[in-house]
Amino acid sequence: MIIENFPFITCMILIIFGIYTLLFKKNLIKLVIGITIIESGVNLFLVTLGYRENSVAPIFTFASSEKMVLPTPQALTLTSIVIGFATTALMLSFVIFIYHHYKTIEIDEMRRLEKR
C-alpha cells in the first residue's frame, strides 16, 4: 500500500518544499527556484497519473497486442513543461532588471533601499 503511493507522496513532498521556499526565503533567485520545484512536483504528479499496470506506451508501430495507456497525461506534462520554461525565463529576466536597479536581489536590502 505505502509502496504504491510512494510516487504521490514524493510529489507532495516536492510541492511542500517549494511552498516552504516561497514563504521563507528572501532571495529572488531562490524564489524562482522554489516555483520551479513546485512545478516539478506538479509535473511529476501528472506523469505518475499516466501509469497503468501491465500496459505499454501508445506507440502503434510494431505494437504488441497488450493494453495501451491513454497518452493524455504525457501530453499535459509536455505542455506544462513548455509553459514552465516560459514563465521561468520571464521571472529570471525580471530578476536581471531588478538587479540592474538595486544592485542586489535580497528582498530585505531592496526594502531598505526603497525607504531611503
Binding site: I15, V42, T72, L90, F94
Partner: protein
C-alpha cells in the same frame, strides 16, 4: 460550412496571429502596423457581437465547437468514448464575458495609440497586448480544464510582461516580478487540482467531469485548490497584495484590460462552483465561502484605498472592493441553488445584480483608469498631493470623472446604482448584516472619490499647470464612448438586464444543459 460557425476559433485565432505578425510588420511601417491591429480588433469585435447575438443568446443550449471534427465523441477500439479533442463550449455567460472583453480590448487599443506613442519597443507591447486579448477570449470560451490552464498561463505571461513594460522604473519591474510569482503559483495550484480530478475520473472536459464527480475527499481538496488559485487570480482580499502594484504601475490602457483579465478568472470561479461542483457538493457551504471572500474584499479594498496617495493605486484598491460585490451577489445565488423557492425569491435577483455588476465594473473602473491616465499623460504626476486645481484646465476630464465615480459608487441615475440596488435588496433577505456592510462600503467608495476629486480637480490654480488642457482627442474618444455606455446602461438598464444578463444568469443556474451539451 458557414464560415461564421467557426467564429469561436476565429475570435481566438485572429488576435493571436495578428500578435505574432506585429513585430514583422513593424519593421516595414509603423502606421501599417497600427492599421492592421485596428482592423483585427475591429473584426474580432464584430465577430463576437455577431456570434453572441445570432448563435448564443437566441438558443437555449450552449454552442459546442470541436477542433478538427464535427462532434466531440471519439470511440476507442475498446468502445470507450472520450472527448480527446480541444473543445470550446460557449453559453450565454461566456458570450456575455466575451462581449465585455471585445469592447474593452478595442477601446484600450485606441487609447494606446496616443498614450504609448512616445515609448520605444511598441511592437512588443502590441504583441503582448494581442496575446493577452486572445488568452482572455480563450479562458471564456473553453470547455476543458486543461485548456483553461493553458490560456490562464498565456494571459499571465502577457499580463506580467505588460505590467513591467517600463523596465527603466524599478517599481514597475518589482510589480511585474511580484505579479508573475503570484500568477504562476495560482496556475500551478490550478494544474494540481486538474491533476487530482483527472487521476480519479480520466476526463478533463468540464461537462464530462461534472457527470462523473462524486464528492470524495480528493474532490474537496481539488475544490479548495481551485478556489485558492482563482481567488488569488481575482485578487480577493487575503491574496490581494499584488493587485495595487500591478494595476498601479502598469500603463493605463493595460490596467483597463487587466481588469477584464481578472474578471475572466472570476467567470472561471463561477463556472467551477456552479457547473462542476453544483450537483454533488453542498452549494450553500461554497456560497458562504464566496460571500465571506466578497465581504473581506469589499471592506479591506475600500478602507485601504482611503490612505493611498497615488491616484492609480487608489483606483486599484477600489477595483478590489468592486470584485467583492460580484462575489457577494453570485455567492448569495449559490447558497440558494439547492432550494428552488429561495432561488426564485431572492437568489436570481442577487445573481442578476452580481452578473450585471461585472459589466458595470469593467466599464467604470476601466474608464477611471483611462481618466487617471489622461491626467498622468498631461501632468506626468502620479501623487495626488502634488496635483490640484485641474478642473480649471481639464474641464471635460473633470466631468467624465464625476460621472464615472458616481456610477461606480452606486448613485442614480447611472448603471452602478442598478446592479448595487439589485444586490442590496436581495442580500437583505439572506442576512441583513451583509446588505448593511455593502451599503456602508458604497459610501466609503464615494468618500474615496470625493477625496480624489478634491485633491486633483478642486483647489486654487497652480502655476505649474498653466499650459495644460484636456488630453488629445485619441485619448478623449475612448473615454467618451465608455461614458456613453455608462449613461445608456444607467438610463435603460432593462435593455441590458433582459437581453444580456438574464440569459447569462439562466445559463449558470441551469447547469444540466451545459453538462449534457457534449452529448457523450
Amino acid at each position: 460550412m458557414n464560415l461564421l460557425e467557426h467564429s469561436p476559433a476565429l475570435i481566438v485565432a485572429i488576435p493571436l496571429l495578428t500578435g505574432f505578425l506585429t513585430p514583422l510588420v513593424s519593421k516595414i511601417n509603423k502606421k501599417l502596423r497600427n492599421f492592421i491591429i485596428l482592423i483585427s480588433l475591429l473584426l474580432t469585435l464584430i465577430l463576437v457581437w455577431n456570434f453572441a447575438f445570432s448563435y448564443i443568446f437566441p438558443r437555449e443550449e450552449p454552442f459546442v465547437y470541436v477542433f478538427g471534427a464535427n462532434s466531440p465523441g471519439i470511440t476507442l477500439p475498446s468502445g470507450y468514448k472520450i472527448p480527446v479533442r480541444i473543445i470550446f463550449e460557449i453559453d450565454s455567460i461566456g458570450a456575455f464575458m466575451s462581449l465585455i472583453t471585445s469592447i474593452i480590448a478595442f477601446l484600450s487599443f485606441i487609447y494606446s495609440l496616443e498614450f504609448m506613442k512616445k515609448y520605444r519597443g511598441l511592437e512588443k507591447y502590441y504583441t503582448l497586448f494581442l496575446l493577452l486579448t486572445a488568452g482572455i477570449f480563450g479562458m471564456e470560451f473553453t470547455g476543458d480544464l486543461f485548456n483553461f490552464f493553458v490560456f490562464l498561463e498565456i494571459t499571465s505571461i502577457a499580463a506580467c510582461a505588460l505590467i513591467g513594460f517600463h523596465v527603466n522604473k524599478s517599481s514597475c519591474v518589482n510589480a511585474g516580478f511580484k505579479t508573475m510569482v503570484m500568477y504562476t503559483v495560482a496556475a500551478l495550484f490550478f494544474l494540481l487540482a486538474v491533476g487530482l480530478l483527472y487521476g480519479q475520473y480520466d476526463a478533463l472536459n468540464i461537462g464530462i467531469l461534472a457527470t462523473k464527480i462524486n464528492g470524495s475527499l480528493l474532490d474537496k481538496l481539488a475544490l479548495g485548490l481551485f478556489i485558492t488559485a482563482l481567488a488569488l487570480k481575482i485578487g480577493s482580499v487575503p491574496m490581494h497584495f499584488w493587485v495595487p502594484e500591478a494595476y498601479g504601475e502598469s500603463p493605463s490602457p493595460v490596467s483597463m484590460i487587466l481588469v477584464t483579465n481578472t474578471q475572466a478568472s472570476l467567470y472561471a470561479l463561477f463556472r467551477i462552483c456552479f457547473t462542476l461542483y453544483g450537483i454533488v457538493m453542498n452549494t450553500a457551504l461554497i456560497g458562504w465561502i464566496i460571500i465571506i471572500l466578497g465581504i473581506l474584499s469589499m471592506f479591506f479594498g475600500a478602507t485601504l484605498a482611503l490612505i493611498q496617495r497615488s491616484i492609480k493605486r487608489l483606483i486599484a484598491y477600489i477595483a478590489i472592493s468592486q470584485i467583492g460585490y460580484m462575489l457577494l451577489g453570485v455567492g448569495v445565488g449559490l447558497t440558494t441553488l439547492e432550494n428552488p423557492q429561495l432561488l426564485q425569491n431572492y437568489g436570481i435577483t442577487a445573481m442578476r445584480g452580481g452578473i450585471f455588476h461585472i459589466f458595470n465594473d469593467a466599464i467604470c473602473i476601466g474608464v477611471l483608469f483611462l481618466i487617471s491616465g489622461a491626467i498622468i499623460y498631461r501632468t506626468k504626476i502620479y501623487d495626488m498631493n502634488n496635483l490640484g486645481g485641474l478642473a480649471r484646465n481639464m474641464k471635460y476630464t473633470a466631468i467624465f470623472f464625476i460621472i464615472s465615480s458616481m456610477a461606480i459608487s452606486g448613485l442614480p441615475p447611472f448603471n452602478g446604482f442598478v446592479s448595487k440596488l439589485l444586490i442590496y435588496e436581495s442580500v437583505y433577505k439572506l442576512n441583513p448584516l451583509l446588505s448593511i456592510i455593502a451599503i456602508l462600503i458604497s459610501i466609503v467608495t464615494l468618500a474615496n472619490f470625493v477625496i480624489v476629486f478634491h485633491g486633483v480637480f478642486l483647489g486654487p490654480k497652480l502655476k505649474k499647470f498653466d499650459n495644460i488642457n484636456d488630453a488629445p482627442k485619441e485619448i478623449i474618444l475612448p473615454i467618451i464612448l465608455m461614458i456613453i455606455l455608462i449613461v445608456i446602461s444607467g438610463m435603460f438598464p432593462d435593455l441590458f438586464l433582459r437581453n444580456l444578463v438574464e440569459p447569462a444568469v439562466k445559463s449558470l443556474i441551469n447547469k444540466e444543459i451545459y453538462i449534457s451539451a457534449i452529448g457523450i
